[in-house]
């Protein structure tokens, strides 16, 4: 559906995007993840024909972004960063304007507007001017605008920025629903967002893709460490020594003690078996200590992200 080949773009001497290549299949939900200024928005702006690439090409649904921009734009629904809207227009007036420019046949304008109002939950504000809307409703209107012509490809630049947690969940569910039938690209610098909504993640830093895969794959990328937190009541030195004897435990870090309970962090090697926590439990019960906490810290996207985006800088 989307094929990007060695796309590059510089602003003056700053290279915003360098030689980015990727492909996205139909029906995939892909997240661009990266710190601010990594080149996510620039990439999206090139895909939506707002900016021209310095070099490289991209095709959306088979149409080249530089050769046939109009065909590309017809097939894309785009929510730009910060969701710019005409503040002096009415909600329905704005949707009608978009419908007219999108050349929707006159008999399908009304049902389509009705549909996006329903899907995006805008019923309560149809009679209002955009300037009067709260941020959450503006964001929904931006989404409604992008969905109006039922596009094959949706490109959403930071769709949940500035929303409260409740609204974020709503918008995420909306994107998930849409993503069942459509190809979606969304960008974010917030990790849980991407892992919650996307089938695949592209991590972008300083204009290059530094990692790509499903959220689970990316998590596995991160050095493969497993960490277990355990709090045990028992003689300190003995417990620490006992834990060290377990196979594939690399290090035991005593954390703090309280009322005879000692807290330890067990760092396991990459090839540690998945039942490490059980082994800790059996060890504790065999030795007659008592256990008050046993917790396996899973590596999340956060760690991968920090790892991948700081690696080059150090």
């Amino acid at each position: 559906m989307i094929e990007v080949e060695r796309l590059s773009k510089s602003y003056g001497t700053t290279k915003a995007v360098q030689d980015i290549s990727f492909t996205i299949a139909q029906g995939e939900v892909v997240g661009f993840l990266g710190p601010n200024g990594a080149g996510k928005s620039t990439t999206m702006r090139m895909l939506t024909c707002y900016l021209c690439p310095d070099s490289g090409t991209a095709r959306i649904a088979g149409f080249d972004i530089t050769q046939q921009p109009r065909e590309v734009k017809k097939r894309i629904g785009y929510l730009p960063e910060n969701n710019p809207l005409y503040m002096d227009m009415g909600v329905v007036e704005y949707l009608r304007f978009i419908a007219a420019i999108r050349n929707l046949p006159s008999d399908s304008v009304k049902p389509n507007i009705q549909r996006v109002i329903e899907v995006c939950g805008l019923e309560a504000v149809v009679a209002k001017d955009i300037g009067e809307l709260s941020k959450g409703y503006r964001q929904r209107l931006g989404l409604a605008q992008a969905l109006l012509h039922d596009p094959d490809v949706l490109i959403l630049d930071e769709p949940t920025i500035g929303l409260d947690p409740h609204q974020i969940i709503e918008i995420r569910n909306l994107i998930k629903n849409i993503g069942r039938h459509k190809t979606v690209i969304l960008s974010s610098h917030i990790l849980p967002e991407v892992s919650a909504t996307c089938d695949r993640v592209l991590i972008i830093n300083r204009g290059v893709i530094v990692g790509s895969g499903t959220p689970a794959e990316l998590a596995a990328l991160s050095r493969g460490k497993q960490t277990i937190l355990v709090t045990v009541k028992g003689p300190h030195a003995e417990v620490a020594a006992g834990l060290r004897t377990l196979t594939s435990v690399v290090d035991v870090v005593p954390l703090e003690t309280e009322d005879g309970y000692g807290r330890f962090e067990l760092i396991c090697s990459a090839d540690a078996p998945s039942d490490m926590a059980e082994q800790v439990f059996f060890l504790v019960s065999r030795s007659g200590w008592s256990l008050s906490e046993l917790y396996r810290k899973t590596v999340n996207l956060e760690d991968v992200f920090l790892d991948l985006t700081t690696r080059e800088e150090t």
């Binding site: 602003y11 702006r45 939506t48 024909c49 707002y50 900016l51 021209c52 109009r70 734009k73 017809k74 894309i76 785009y78 730009p80 910060n82 710019p84 809207l85 005409y86 503040m87 002096d88 227009m89 304007f97 978009i98 007219a100 420019i101 999108r102 050349n103 605008q145």
Partner: protein
């Protein structure tokens, strides 16, 4: 064409969504009527020469008011990104905006229709200069609008756009004035006279609609709209 009309409708409607349009029309009518009637009864001539003589100067300040927000606000709000990622070409947006501004100016101009009516009731004016004056005013206004749109396209600040538009329009207006023509070398004189926005307005205003004058205005409009197109397009390559 359809797309141009859609942009036109959106732009034209946006004039009336803020009080700017009403303030503009009222002040335009008050100023033109006052300046006209101030001397009309003293001179006792059934003609609008006086009114058309002032029009290039009144338009000089009012046309940039119409155009100043056209691009500057789109850029400031960021809505230009929405507009340019819709299936529209830059040329269609430029033309839609141009038509909307010109139409608005013509609407304001039509509302001065009370002046020729008064003159016709009180006397028997020569219809040639009257019609010529209005045709010339439309062309002159359209040229100002094209310049104003270009000025709006180079900045995201409405005030800057307003002032730049006035400066360019003013330069093109005075370049054909006698003071300038006397002070430049004779070889340049005819060029300057040709470039002056006012010179052609006067010659149309005499009631003689010459294709050269029309051609002049059309080429001014095309030139500045093309510059406008290029400045907007060049943003994509930055």
């Amino acid at each position: 064409m359809n797309q141009i009309l859609t942009v036109f409708r959106k732009e034209f409607r946006s004039f009336f969504s803020s009080p700017v349009a009403y303030i503009f029309i009222i002040s335009f009518l008050v100023v033109t009527n006052w300046l006209f009637f101030r001397t009309f009864f003293i001179m006792g001539q059934a003609s609008l020469r006086n009114f058309f003589g002032l029009l290039p100067w009144i338009f000089l300040f009012l046309a940039p008011v119409i155009t100043m927000r056209a691009w500057a606000e789109e850029k400031k709000l960021g809505t230009i990104e929405v507009l340019m990622t819709l299936p529209l070409s830059t040329a269609e947006i430029v033309l839609g905006k141009f038509l909307a501004c010109v139409t608005f100016l013509i609407v304001a101009l039509c509302l001065t229709g009370t002046l020729p009516l008064t003159v016709m009731i009180l006397g028997d004016p020569d219809p040639g200069p009257l019609w010529g004056g209005y045709v010339g005013a439309c062309l002159l206004g359209a040229a100002y609008v094209a310049i104003g749109l270009f000025a709006s396209g180079i900045t995201e600040n409405q005030i800057v756009s307003f002032i730049v538009a006035i400066v360019i329009c003013f330069a093109f207006l005075i370049v054909g004035e006698n003071i300038v023509l006397y002070s430049v070398p004779p070889a340049l004189g005819s060029v300057c006279a040709y470039l002056g926005l006012g010179t052609h307005f006067e010659s149309i205003g005499r009631g003689v609609i010459d294709s050269r004058d029309i051609l002049y205005y059309v080429s001014m409009i095309v030139f500045f709209l093309a510059l406008n197109y290029l400045t907007i397009e060049s943003r994509r390559w930055k």
